[in-house]
Symmetry: C2
Subunit: 206 residues, 2 copies
DNA sequence: CACAAAAATGACGTTACGTCAATTTCATGC
DNA sequence: GCATGAAATTGACGTAACGTCATTTTTGTG
């Protein structure tokens, strides 16, 4: 065992490549916040870095792809948090509540950036099937199926239920952000109570 | 009272103006379905009409504004349907169910157009608070407040509840569209049961 | 029918796009 | 170390779409 195991890129090549990618994403985040997504141009983004315009296209195909990468990164950061909530939960109710708290904390943190109003840089209706976002969906869905299998929840359509959880979290989360100050716990309690009880109804009716 | 009341535009001016607007919207609907929203250009849209490129800008500022107008029109058509559901409902449960059936029927009809998958027709980032959409939101919210006042539903945060209804309807509706054939009634029963029972939980917890 | 206001037109200057040949940077073998 | 080529960066360039505006056409009015 003489050779050190290198999980992180060490070569200069790999390093600057990662740095450039990060620089572009950071600049894009800033530009989207400043100008709004629609008004922003690829050149606005690249101007926020030390790179030349052509270099952008070594990393992303378009502005759209940059946005997806940002969203994907968000999902990547969020997933382990969700996973932990599942593993540490003492009950199904506990899981739901901590998952919603985690999500609401997440979106509050993600919107601390100064700039334009959130609405102009964020989707209201976002159906983005990036790999990481689908993974988050699957994580949610599996948690729910597990709960059903353990008898913590009645037998329901897990896909519909996952959609309901996500849709509710998104919309209530957005409404929470509009209030000041945003009360994360109140929102989480509301959503948890709604869905936990709703489960019974969903089972009865479908 | 010798003068006839003209609610509809009769002058040639007004008439062609309305027709042009409609033509642009129809062409846009087609182009978005064909190329997807992001790929579509203002010129693609105007090419689908008899008008010149400059004329487009007499009606809309941009592609985004056209999309908003389409969404707004959708909301305008949907609102009276929702209103009727409220007025004809024999119980709160009946109202919820018929409202969801109406919404699901609506999105199924709205997606019968051939072309690209729905995800690609829709802008990724867009402020969707058009006047008509906000009116739909208010309609939902008022229905819920009324139900609370009548004692049909426990006292809950009407805004959060409205958001939950809308978010759930949107996400479950999208999932329903992915299934074939879409079972409107099953989806409506699921969502109705979920929210109707959820109410009790939301009240208890918040 | 004449005249003015309103709307349509499409050519034009501008802006952003995406590509690519030339150049620089880095890893590898000697 | 140094030579060599692969990989990445660069920015100028051709292309495409944008949005405007002077001109022309259409419509309402006296």
């Amino acid at each position: 065992m003489t050779d050190a195991i290198a999980l992180e890129p060490v070569g200069k090549r790999e390093k600057t490549k990662a740095a450039n990618r990060l620089a572009i994403l950071a600049a894009a985040r800033e530009v989207f916040a400043q100008l709004g997504y629609e008004a922003a141009t690829v050149r606005d983004i690249i101007r926020g870095t030390q790179l030349a315009s052509g270099t952008f296209y070594n990393y992303f195909k378009s502005k759209e792809e940059v946005y997806e990468a940002l969203a994907d990164d968000g999902a990547r950061r969020f997933r382990p948090i969700l996973r932990m909530a599942r593993e540490n939960a003492r009950s199904f109710e506990d899981y739901l509540h901590s998952a919603f708290v985690a999500y609401f904390q997440f979106i509050v943190a993600d919107n601390r950036t100064e700039g334009r109003p959130i609405d102009e840089r964020r989707p209201h209706v976002l159906r983005m099937d990036t790999p990481e976002m689908m993974a988050v969906y699957q994580e949610v869905r599996q948690s729910l199926e597990e709960a059903v299998a353990r008898g913590d929840a009645p037998r329901v359509d897990a896909d519909y239920l996952a959609c309901a959880c996500i849709g509710t979290a998104q919309e209530v989360g957005a409404e929470m952000l509009r209030r000041s100050p945003p009360d994360i716990d109140a929102a989480a309690r509301f959503v948890t109570g709604l869905l936990l009880n709703g489960l019974q109804g969903a089972a009865r009716k479908s």
